[in-house]
Structure formats: structure tokens, C-alpha cells
């Protein structure tokens, strides 16, 4: 199978090398290195204060690193050091090839404008200008994330938490990014709403062959969505590997503690 062989030989999309961040004497993130490949879902797990959100900010170029570097292979195939990108280039990357799904949808959406505009805005930012096509594409995406088209002109502030989160996902995916960062995307949702969202994300990720870096403290989320997992503690990656391997056969004391702390369903 040709496409499968290609999968084994392709180049990484994002490479982190010895990434560190300290605030004065406090090291929030120490010496993190890994490579992420197209279509690969990497979960970063650990408790509050482990440095996982700081790492996500470093990887997405929202925070300057104290040491190390992040390189990203642009659509032209050339890997670029994120620190050398200009502000305009970085913003363009964020609008096109990257998505960022926040835990709080209010951070990733414009709450007072319509759902259709929230999705359409990303398209306009990349140069779409035909109103009809923008609206069609926006409707199409609302359907894909299971939002009733009848609600297209309503603002997300009138939406439930689960709908807002699905709208945020539509807004991020409409430009067909290759890499999406997610920060606790199911964090504030009820369990039943979580399950629906996870299922949706899981199928979209596979369908669109998305690479995802997802920060979560919920190991069930990591198990359902990710191929690989990195366990963080005290700003360091203490264990990493295939998700089912790390969760079913954890090696480090801290990972064993995390795994054993899950309540059986």
C-alpha cells in the first residue's frame, strides 16, 4: 500500500529540541524534545502545574522559550525555526495551517457575532470574499460538528457549553489546518457532552489526517484520542511512548500513580 509506505518515510511536521522555559528561578518547562509527524495525535498529560500548558504555549509560539527551539515544516516543505518567523508570518500560520482549541470557548470564539460569522471569519482572513461560498462552507462545517443550521445566525453566547466547543472546533478546522493545538478541550463539559465531543474530534482527526497536540489531565481522553503520550511532572517529560503502552504498562512511579487514580467507570 503506497500511502502506508509513505507514512513510514515522511518528514516530521514539528520538531522540539531541548525546549525550556523558566520564570526567574522557577523552571516551568525543562529540556523537552520530540518530533510530531503528520496525522499523529500526541497527548501531554500531567497534573496542574506540571508545565503542560506552558509547553503548549511554547510549541505554538505564543511564549518565547528560554532555551531550545521549535521548528515547523511549512506548506512549502521547508522547516522553519518558529523564533525566526516575523509577527505577520506567525499570525498567518495561526490563521491557516494551525488551529488552537481553548478550554474556554469564549477565548477562541467571538461571543457576540453569529456562529456563521465565527466560522466565515477564518475563511475571509485567508482571502475568501464570495459571501455565498463562505456561507455554504460555514453551514457545511456547522453540520459536520452537529450544530443545527437553523442556529447559524445566532451568536455563540446563546449556545450551550458543548455547542460552543463544537463551534470552536468548526472555526479552527474550516481552513484545513495540518496541526491543531488543544488545551483541555473537554475540561468544562458534562460527562455525556464530553463523550459526544470526543467522538466527534476522534472522527474528524482521522478523516482530515490532522496532527494534534492535546493537553489534558484526563487519561481517558488521552486513551481515546492519542497515538502517543508524554507524561509531565515538574516541568519535565518523565515518561513517553505509545499511549496504550504507557497507560497499560506504566513504568515511572508518578505515571503508575496517575493510572491507578482513575475511578473505574
Amino acid at each position: 500500500m503506497a500511502d502506508q509506505d509513505m507514512l513510514e518515510n515522511d518528514e516530521p511536521l514539528l520538531v522540539a529540541k531541548s525546549l525550556s522555559k523558566s520564570y526567574g528561578r522557577i523552571a516551568a518547562c525543562r529540556d523537552v524534545s520530540f518530533a510530531l509527524y503528520p496525522g499523529e495525535v500526541l497527548a501531554i498529560v500531567g497534573e496542574s502545574g506540571s508545565g503542560k500548558s506552558t509547553l503548549l504555549q511554547l510549541l505554538s509560539g505564543q511564549l518565547a522559550a528560554s532555551g531550545g527551539q521549535v521548528s515547523y515544516r511549512m506548506r512549502d516543505g521547508v522547516a522553519r525555526d518558529l523564533a525566526t518567523l516575523g509577527e505577520a508570518e506567525r499570525r498567518f500560520l495561526f490563521r491557516t495551517d494551525w488551529g488552537f482549541v481553548h478550554q474556554d470557548p469564549a477565548q477562541g470564539l467571538r461571543m457576540a457575532v453569529s456562529a456563521g460569522a465565527n466560522v466565515g471569519e477564518r475563511l475571509m482572513a485567508v482571502g475568501w470574499n464570495h459571501y455565498g461560498r463562505i456561507r455554504d462552507t460555514a453551514s457545511d462545517w456547522l453540520t459536520r460538528v452537529e450544530i443545527d443550521i437553523a442556529r447559524i445566525d445566532d451568536a455563540p453566547r446563546t449556545y450551550s457549553g458543548g455547542m460552543r466547543q463544537r463551534l470552536q472546533i468548526a472555526r479552527n478546522l474550516v481552513t484545513e489546518p495540518r496541526l491543531v493545538f488543544m488545551d483541555e478541550p473537554t475540561g468544562g463539559l458534562d460527562v455525556s457532552v464530553q463523550a459526544r465531543l470526543l467522538d466527534l474530534v476522534r472522527s474528524l482527526v482521522a478523516e482530515l489526517h490532522l496532527a494534534v497536540i492535546i493537553v489534558t489531565h484526563d487519561l481517558a481522553v488521552a486513551r481515546l484520542l492519542s497515538h502517543r503520550v508524554m507524561v509531565m511532572k515538574g516541568g519535565r517529560v518523565i515518561e513517553t511512548g505509545l499511549t496504550d503502552q504507557v497507560l497499560d504498562d506504566p513504568r515511572e512511579p508518578y505515571t503508575q500513580l496517575l493510572v491507578s487514580s482513575i475511578l473505574p467507570p
Binding site: 500500500m1 500511502d3 502506508q4 509506505d5 507514512l7 513510514e8 509527524y37 499523529e40 463523550a195 459526544r196 470526543l198 467522538d199 476522534r202 481515546l224 497515538h227 502517543r228 511512548g241 505509545l242 496504550d244 503502552q245 497499560d248 504498562d249 513504568r251 515511572e252 512511579p253 503508575q256 500513580l257 491507578s260
Partner: protein
């Protein structure tokens, strides 16, 4: 004949850090191979490490030392040291695993749960669903259940869905962890038939089966796991 699975001198010990770091030796010196078209059954009492060996061959458990040789697309790969993404590729193209329990994904219809391994390998959805239907039919899952998620099915039904999902692919290696445990006689017979078909197609299999009669029907060779007992 070139072996599909070649396990050599593999050791596994669990270190339980939360219990004061006690060590639980599972197996040591595990050595055996499986040829194409052959079904090797692991035997030994509960706790002897049969499931752990199966999980190591699938890359679900790590091994502390030794080699898990897998013939993947014509080349021998050591799964014990392979990168995560290579393990995933090997699972997609080479090794299938039928676990004891179905890990149900919420909201996905039974027919799609079964068809998924074929779709992942590039077969068109309709064709994959047709083949899934044939297999579900053989395993006596009534058609009215196919569009429902298997989460609410009985234990035996879930296991048959699991078996269908495991047997649908044309993967050259299959690992079977008690595939007939909660099945009635008619469905056990279907599984025996499916195993025989896989043998004729040259699939290499490793199985754990407690039922003596089934073991007798599917095993070409028996590997006694107690000979790999780790020195406690």
C-alpha cells in the same frame, strides 16, 4: 520456512512503585516462533503470563530485555525496540489482536466498529461494511443490531463483534486472547472455522484458549508457558 513471529529470550517484570517498589517477575527467557499458517496455543495456569506474552507481541506491554521479531512487509522488525509510530504501522498492516473484551467506542454503529480496520487500510466504506455484514451474519449477530453501538449488547454478543473486528482484516499475524470464552457451542464452532480459514490463508496465530476441545481443534503446536516461569 521463514517465521512470522520470532520471540527470543524475552523477560518481563512489573515493578509496583506504589507498593513499596515490589517486583513481580512475570516471565523470563520466553523463546518460540510461529510460522505462516500455523496456530500456536500458549498453555499454562492462570497467572503464568500467557496474556502478558500476547501483549508483548502486540507492543502493548514493554519487555525488559530480549527480542520480539515480527516479519513486517518482508523485513524482520524488533518490536521490543521499535519507535511508537512504527509499532502503529505494524499494527495497521501486520498484527491484529482479538482481546477478551471489546473496548467500545461510544456512538459508533456495530457494522462500523467491525469495518474500521479495513477502512483504515484504504478499502471503500461500502465494501468494508459489506464484508463486516457477512462476518456479523456468520457470527449470528442479527441484522437489526448492526446499526446500534455494541455498548449495550450482551457479553457474548460484544465478544462476537470483537471477533468479527479481529478476523475481518487480511493481516498476516493474529493474536487471540480467549476468543471463545463466553460463546455458545454454535458460535465456538464458527470461531474454529474462522481460525482454519486464516491458516489456509497463511496467517500466523498465537492463541490463549482454556477450553480443551477448542484447543485440540485449533492448535498446531502448544507452547507451555510454565517453562518460562520467572524466578521469583
Amino acid at each position: 520456512m521463514i517465521a512470522m513471529i520470532d520471540v527470543a529470550n524475552t523477560n518481563k517484570t512489573f515493578t509496583m512503585h506504589l507498593q513499596g517498589g515490589i517486583e513481580l517477575p512475570v516471565v523470563s527467557g520466553v523463546t518460540f516462533h510461529v510460522n505462516p499458517g500455523e496456530c500456536v496455543v500458549l498453555s499454562g495456569p492462570s497467572g503464568a503470563g500467557k496474556s502478558s506474552i500476547l501483549k508483548m507481541i502486540f507492543g502493548n506491554y514493554r519487555c525488559d530485555s530480549g527480542r520480539i521479531g515480527i516479519r513486517h512487509r518482508g523485513a524482520l522488525v524488533d518490536l521490543a525496540t521499535a519507535e511508537p509510530r512504527q509499532v502503529l504501522n505494524i499494527r495497521r498492516a501486520t498484527i491484529g489482536y482479538v482481546s477478551q473484551f471489546l473496548r467500545a467506542v461510544p456512538r459508533v454503529a456495530t457494522v462500523d466498529v467491525v469495518a474500521e480496520p479495513l477502512i483504515v487500510n484504504g478499502l471503500a466504506r461500502v465494501d468494508a461494511q459489506t464484508r463486516a455484514g457477512e462476518l456479523l451474519h456468520r457470527l449470528n449477530i442479527p441484522e437489526r443490531l448492526w446499526q446500534l453501538p455494541p455498548a449495550t449488547f450482551s457479553g457474548g454478543e460484544q465478544q462476537r463483534v470483537n471477533i468479527a473486528r479481529g478476523f475481518i482484516s487480511d493481516l498476516p499475524i493474529l493474536l487471540l486472547d480467549e476468543p471463545t470464552a463466553s460463546l455458545d457451542a454454535a458460535n465456538r464452532a464458527v470461531v474454529v472455522e474462522l481460525v482454519a480459514e486464516k491458516k489456509r490463508q497463511g496467517v500466523a496465530m498465537v492463541a490463549i484458549v482454556h477450553d480443551d476441545e477448542i484447543r485440540h481443534q485449533i492448535a498446531d503446536r502448544i507452547v507451555d508457558v510454565t517453562s518460562f516461569a520467572a524466578a521469583a
